[in-house]
Every structure is written in C-alpha cells, then in structure tokens.
C-alpha cells in the first residue's frame, strides 16, 4: 500500500483536475443565469466523443494526438454551449428557473440519445494527450497520460483564473453574475456575457471529456453521473463560488480514488451519494450556504 501512495496521489490529482474543469463550466453557467444546466454532463460526454471522432482523422503515427485535437474539441463544444444557450435558455429568460432545469434536461436527453443512435451505445477510447506509456517517479510507475492531464488541466484552470480575475471581460462576467439587473443598468452587455459563459462552459466540458475519455472510456450514458459530480462539487464548494467548486472537484476525486482503491468503485459511488444526502439534510443550502437574495 505504501508504494501505491504516489500512484494514488497522481490518480487523484489527474481525476480531480478533469472534474474541476467540468465543475468550473457548471458554475460559470449557474452564475451567468442563476439556473442549473442539467445537460452539462452530456457536454462532457460529447467532448469525449468529439475527441474520439477527431482523433480518428489523424494518421496512425501522429504523436500527441490528444493535444492536437484539444483545440478542435474545445471549439466544437463551445459552439454546442452557444446552441444550448440559444435553444434552452434564451427563450426562457423570464421563466422560473425550473423551466430552465427542464429545458436542459430535455437537451441532455436529446444529446445522449442522438449519440447513441448515431454511434451506438458501446464505450469508446479517446486519444491520449501525449501518447501512451509510463514513467517512473519516486519509485512508482505513473502513466504519461496522468501527468499530461494534470499539466494540461492545470494550465486551463490557471488560464480561466487569469481570464476571470485580470481581464475586463472577466470583471464584467463577475459583475453580471452578482447582479444582472444592475449590470445591465450600467451598460454591461448581459446577453454577451451570458453567451460567453455558456461557450466557456462548453469548451471546458469538452476539454474534461477529452481527458476522461482516454483512461476511463466514454459512453453515451455517462452524462448523468458526470453532471451529478459537477453538481456535488459545487454544493461542497459553496454554491456559485468558482474556486470552491474546483476544490470540491478535487475532494470528490480524492475520495473516489482512495475508496475505489481500498474497497471498490461501487462503494465509492454509493458513499458519495449517501454523503451528499447527509450533507443536504444537515445543511439544506449546501456546505457554505447560498447568498440569499430574497426580500419581503
């Protein structure tokens, strides 16, 4: 068990950084429109399949197949995110949030079964980021894919952080998330920031899907579980807190990795849901609560 610790750590970090990408996109949409995107897991899943499809067009001998298709996957999923905003959110801007829940459940259903109908229900393997094989590190054998995942996902997380924190666009995004009415009043184009949030959510989901699809395969039915994990990460990290969600994602990944390694993946999953239910029972508004906007 001792020699497995570096291995577990790397596993948890790699899984955590992909979950974090997925959770980040999930929170960006929550902040932009105040509603949960139930199709988010399907975006991650679709990212995996787009990666499989794009990689198939590369010559057999291509090095770095995953890295080559990454921009394409992110662009494609950004476009899907925009379409989602256009169909699933724009017509329901003034409707209660539950309408957006339903429209995104519907779109997720369409994506999932369109993929099943088009490609079939079998799991597929996505391209590795920088090829297969492994390296030895601290006496442990570690897959190159794992290390590459940590590096690429880490870079993307840093890039999102820089974008939100240090650019005019990021400030507008945060302002529109905090108070859309006031943001509109002071001239921030809320329509554009909303569209950008959906596009970014799609792109990040696509990247997460690509990275998950190599080690864990990708199947059309994966969406629901991926969405639940992004959701749970958001609840753990504090509703609407961008970096809280990323931390929550790492926590879930660490938990999953350790329990799966010592007991079984099934037990890990069962315990995760039981834990969330217990959390919601004790703290009905999530671990750190939710900013209350209602007034009498």
């Amino acid at each position: 068990m001792i020699e497995a610790i570096p291995q577990l750590l790397v596993n948890a970090l790699a899984l955590g950084s992909t979950y974090a990408l997925a959770a980040l996109g999930f929170v960006l949409v929550i902040n932009a429109v105040g509603a949960v995107n139930f199709a988010h897991g399907e975006l991650v899943m679709l990212g995996g399949f787009v990666a499989v499809g794009l990689a198939a067009t590369l010559p057999e001998t291509a090095v770095l197949p995953g890295l080559i298709v990454l921009p394409g996957v992110m662009l494609a999923l950004a476009a899907v995110g925009l379409v989602l905003a256009l169909i699933g959110y724009a017509p329901l801007r003034r409707a209660p949030p539950v309408s957006v829940f339903i429209s995104t459940i519907a779109i997720g259903l369409i994506i999932q079964h369109a993929v099943t109908a088009g490609i079939g229900p079998e799991p597929r393997v996505g391209p590795p980021l920088i090829g297969t094989g492994s390296v030895e590190l601290f006496g442990a054998v570690i897959a190159r894919q794992q290390l590459a995942t940590i590096a690429v996902a880490g870079l993307l997380l840093v890039a999102v952080h820089a974008l939100l924190k240090h650019t005019r666009f990021g400030r507008r995004l945060r302002a529109a998330a905090q108070d859309p009415v006031m943001a509109r009043a002071i001239g921030i184009p809320v329509v554009l920031t909303t569209a950008a949030s959906f596009a970014m959510a799609g792109a990040l989901a696509g990247a997460a899907g690509l990275m998950l699809s190599n080690q864990y395969f990708v199947a059309p039915t994966d969406g629901a579980v991926l969405m639940l994990k992004a959701y749970v990460a958001t609840v753990i990290g504090g509703w609407g807190r961008v970096w809280g969600a990323a931390l929550g994602a790492f926590a879930i990944a660490a938990f999953e990795t350790v329990v799966a390694a010592s007991v079984s993946y099934l037990v890990a999953e069962v315990l995760l849901y039981v834990g969330v239910l217990a959390l919601l029972m004790l703290r009905p508004r999530g671990l750190f609560g939710e900013a209350e906007g209602r007034r009498a």
């Binding site: 949960v36 169909i87 539950v98 829940f101 259903l109 109908a117 919601l280 009905p284």
Partner: protein, 557 residues
C-alpha cells in the same frame, strides 16, 4: 364550492374516442399499448402532485415506479403473495419510502430537491443492479399474472380495464388531495412562498403527504407494469422512466392529472414508432419537452384552459371571522445586524390591543426589518417578542401566525392562478370566514374574479383580506396606503380604525404622514435602528430629533 368544469367534458370525449378507436382496431398489440399508456398515466398523475402542485422537481418518481415494480415482483415470487395484495405492497412500500425521503427533502428548495432526489434514484439503480437479493443485473423473473377471484386478467381487455381503473383511482386521489381549500393552500405555498408562512401555512406537512401520495401512485404504476410484463429488471430504475414521466407532466401541463393522461396517450405509444431504433424515442421526448416548455409553458391542459376557462369556485355565504382579541404585542431589545450594518439596535415597544401604533423613519431606518423580525420571516438577531403572555421569538412564522399574528406586505405575493376567493380561503378557517374578510375590504363582489385581474390597490385589499381571514389579534402592515387614491385611503383609514376598535392591536409602517398621523394613537420613530422618539402624533411630529432625522429631510406628502 365546486363549479362545473367544462374541461371535464372535453377530456371525457377524448377518452371515449380513444376507447372507440381501440375497440375498432381491437388487436392485442393496440391493447398492450393502451395498457402501457394507463400504467405511465398513473405514475404521471402522482408526479403532478409533487412537480405540479408543490412545484418541486423531484426526480425520484421514476425510482418509486421501479421500487413498486420490485416490491411486487419480490413479494409474489419470493414470498408467495398473490398479485392483488402484492399490488397493495407495491403501493405501500414506495409510499412509506416517499414519506421518509420527504422528511429531509421537504426542507430543501429548487435545484437542491433535484440533486437530492437524483442522488436517491441513482442509489436505487446501483443497489438493484448490484445486490443479489434483488436479483442483480438480471432482475426478477416469473411474476405471476394478475388474477382477481380466480379470473385471469393477464392481458387483453381485462388487463386494460384493470389498469384504467387504476388511472381512475389515481385521478380521484389526486383530485381529492388538491381540491378546495387544500388546493388553494398548496397553490399559495407554491406561488407565494414568503407570504404563506405569515398566513400560518407550513409547507412541511403538505410536502410529506404529497411525496407519500406521489410515491404510492408511482408504485401502483410500477406494480401493474411488473404484472403486465411478468419480469422486473434494473432497467425499470433507469432515468428513462423518470424522463418519460417528466415529459408527460410537462406536455400535459403543470399540475393537471387529466392533462397527464392526455399527454401519456400521445407520448407513450411513440417508442413503438421507433422500433429497431433503440432509445431513439427519447430524442422525441426531449424535443416534445423542450417544445412544450418554450411554446406551451402550461402544456395541453393550459391550452385547453385558454379555450374553456376553469370556472372559479362558487363562494359560500358570508360568515364571521372569530377574532382573538385583547392580546398585545410587546417587543423587548430587538436587534439585528447585516454584516457590519446595524439595522436594529435594542428596539423596544408595546402595541396594546385596541390601539394603532405607527412606525415611522427614513428609508433604511429598520422599519421593514422590524416587521420581518416580529413576523418571524427573519429569525436572526437578538431580543424578546411576546404575543400576550406567549414568547414567540423562537417560533416559526407559521406558528406565530396561528397564534394570532398576521402581516400585510408592501409588495404582496398573490398566486396568479387563483380566484380572489381562493386566495383568501387559503388563509381562512372556512369559506364563510374568507367571505367575511372579503366583505370588510370591499372585495366581496369580485370574489369569483381571477386574482391576477386585480389592480394594485385591490391587490393590497386582497392581501389585507387574506391577513384578516386568519383571525388575527395583532396585525402588522407595511405601507398599506402607498399608491392609493385619496378616496381609497379614507376607506382604509376607517377600516383600520374599526379593526382596532374591535380589540385588535395594529402596527402600521407608513411613509405618508397625512395618512398616519391622524390615524395612529401613538407614533414610534426609528433612526438607524434605534427608537429616537415615541408618543402621540403631535408630540412626535414636533420632536426636534424626529424633524432632523426624518420629517425635515423628506417631503411630507
């Protein structure tokens, strides 16, 4: 109290046509499909109680359907129970689980409900797939067909009739659970979540009851399906069942049982058109849900209601509201901070019964915060509050309301789907009491109008009527005169005087001094969360501190 709803005839005609077409076609295949429509319709009618009437997106209804199917299969195959009592087990097991689930879930709101119930459904699926006791991935085989008194109802018309009797039972149960005053209360809890507790309505009991009823109905559907197919596999717990029920509810129209039956008749046969196309039908369900939520947000039933409006219930005769009089409101050292801002800082006062006390102060001086603390909508902060001899500051807003504390709102939440009478009866002990309250606020002639058709002044009157219908001894009002014409203000003044003279204690927050000063027996002036003056209208109005803090700065209207 019931008026004839002509939409019932439309649905009856549709059902008649459906059965006639079925009899004409008459082949076993068509009968199987019609049976399946009934099975899904039963579970969807139950789903409407939670999704439609409570307004909670509980994604566990599909799981309860599956649990019902499993309960029946295991009871009949493993325990040797005969199918009819097996159906009872298929209803009771999910109903009990539903009530248990509701205890924690009922405290949640919005997407947290969806998350918790989705997690539960996922758990059920994992357990069924992996526990050998439950048949594992293969499920349970050899479920006997439904027999009643030795007669085999396995298939064809007998099974169809049995299932559609179940549909009728589910419709009757759903109708009973959402009829009359209870229906008005459910709508108030859903559409006026802030006002409802102040009217004495507590969501917990309704939510637990509705969850249990919905889960039991889902179980009936699941049990019937197990009997129909003779086998139960973990597939019955997959999300597909849930999205089918959701699509039926959305297309049928929020809350409508009959709409759900119509939508089930439209949607459930669809997979048969997509045979050999795996789960392609779910793409169509997704499309139908999306189209319905965007284009027909109220579904088929809402579209029908636009052509054949739902008649408002016929109100009863006017009765009386028995008031609980002679109880004073006392507030001691009330305080509240929002972060670093002190909104209330040791505020103490008494509102004796039979008196009107006016609460004045500049914007942000803490007036509405005080009302929120007293009514219990805001339960954070220090101080003691007494209603007569009962200390109320630890009680829920609904408990305070039931003890005789009522509140009117500055911007009242009025459920748009209800008639004027229904809005008030939701808060009243009886229909007669509701009519008495409407009479006092001059709205009795408009009792059958839709509440949504009222203008701003009448909405205020409706909010006051609703508060009065609870039979309060203490009445808190937040800017009752705002936006009223001179004539309407005069009427309101004399009404408030009469209410006080009868023995109620009134606390009135108001900006308009020419309305409040002649009305109030005493005036309390707040500034930055503290009482800076208290006394008769004349003394407070002449107080130099009040003049600088408030009157001098603001135009007296």
């Amino acid at each position: 109290m019931r008026a004839i709803d002509r939409r019932g005839w439309v649905y009856a005609l549709m059902a008649l046509l459906g059965f006639a077409a079925l009899a004409a076609a008459g082949d076993g295949y068509a009968l199987r499909i019609a049976t399946l429509v009934g099975i899904y319709a039963i579970a969807a009618i139950g789903f409407q109680l939670v999704f439609g009437h409570l307004g909670l997106l509980a994604l566990s209804q599909g799981a309860f359907f599956g649990i019902g199917a499993y309960a029946l299969a295991l009871a009949t195959v493993e325990l040797g129970v005969t199918p009819l009592p097996g159906l009872l087990i298929a209803v009771l097991v999910p109903a009990l689980l539903g009530a248990l689930v509701a205890l924690p879930v009922a405290r949640l709101e919005s997407h947290y409900v969806a998350l918790a119930t989705l997690g539960l459904a996922q758990l059920a699926l994992l357990l069924a797939t992996n526990l050998e006791v439950l048949g594992g991935a293969n499920g349970v085989y050899g479920v006997p067909p439904l027999t009643v008194l030795g007669v085999n109802l396995a298939e064809g018309w007998p099974m169809l009739v049995a299932v559609w009797l179940g549909v009728a039972l589910a419709l009757a149960l759903g109708g009973w659970a959402t009829a009359g005053r209870r229906g008005a209360r459910l709508t108030t809890l859903r559409d006026a979540p802030l006002a409802a507790p102040a009217l004495g309505l507590d969501p917990m009991g309704y939510r637990v009851g509705m969850f249990a009823l919905a889960a039991g109905t889902a179980g009936l559907g699941g049990g019937l399906q197990a009997l129909d197919l003779g086998v139960v596999s973990p597939a019955v717990l997959r999300f597909d069942v849930m999205v089918t029920l959701l699509a039926i509810a959305v297309v049928g129209g929020r809350g409508s049982g009959l709409g759900a039956v119509a939508a089930a008749a439209l949607l459930v046969p669809l997979p048969e058109l997509f045979r050999g196309f795996e789960s392609g039908y779910l793409i169509v369900y997704g499309g139908a849900m999306l189209a319905a939520i965007v284009l027909l947000p109220r579904g088929l039933d809402g579209a029908l209601a636009r052509m054949v409006p739902r008649p408002a219930p016929i109100p009863p005769r006017q009765g009386t509201v028995p008031p609980r009089l002679g109880v004073a409101l006392r507030v001691e050292g009330l305080s509240r901070r929002f972060g670093g801002v002190v909104a209330l800082d040791g505020v103490s006062f008494t509102v004796p019964s039979g008196r009107i006390v006016g609460l004045i102060g500049a914007n942000g001086s803490g007036k509405t915060t005080a009302l929120n603390r007293i009514s219990g909508l805001d339960r954070v902060g220090g101080g003691e509050m007494w209603l007569g001899k009962t200390r109320i500051d630890t009680l829920s807003p609904a408990r305070r309301a039931r003890l005789g504390l009522a509140r009117g709102f500055q911007h009242p939440e009025i459920p748009a789907d209800l008639s004027v009478f229904e809005v008030v009866v939701a808060a009243a002990p009886s229909g007669e009491a509701a009519m008495a309250a409407l009479d006092r606020t001059g709205l009795i002639d408009r009792a059958r109008e839709p509440a949504a058709s009222l203008g701003p002044a009448a909405r205020r009157g409706l909010d006051l009527a609703r508060a009065l219908a609870t039979g309060p001894s203490v009445l808190l009002l937040d800017e009752p005169a705002a936006g009223l014409t001179a004539e309407e203000r005069d009427r309101l003044s004399s009404l408030l005087r009469r209410l006080a003279r009868e023995g109620r204690a009134l606390l009135v927050v108001e900006h308009s001094m020419d309305f409040l000063l002649p009305l109030a027996d005493r005036i309390i002036c707040l500034d930055a969360g503290r009482v800076i003056a208290e006394g008769t209208a004349d003394t407070v109005a002449a107080d130099p501190a009040v003049r600088t803090a408030y009157l001098g700065r603001e135009v007296v209207s």
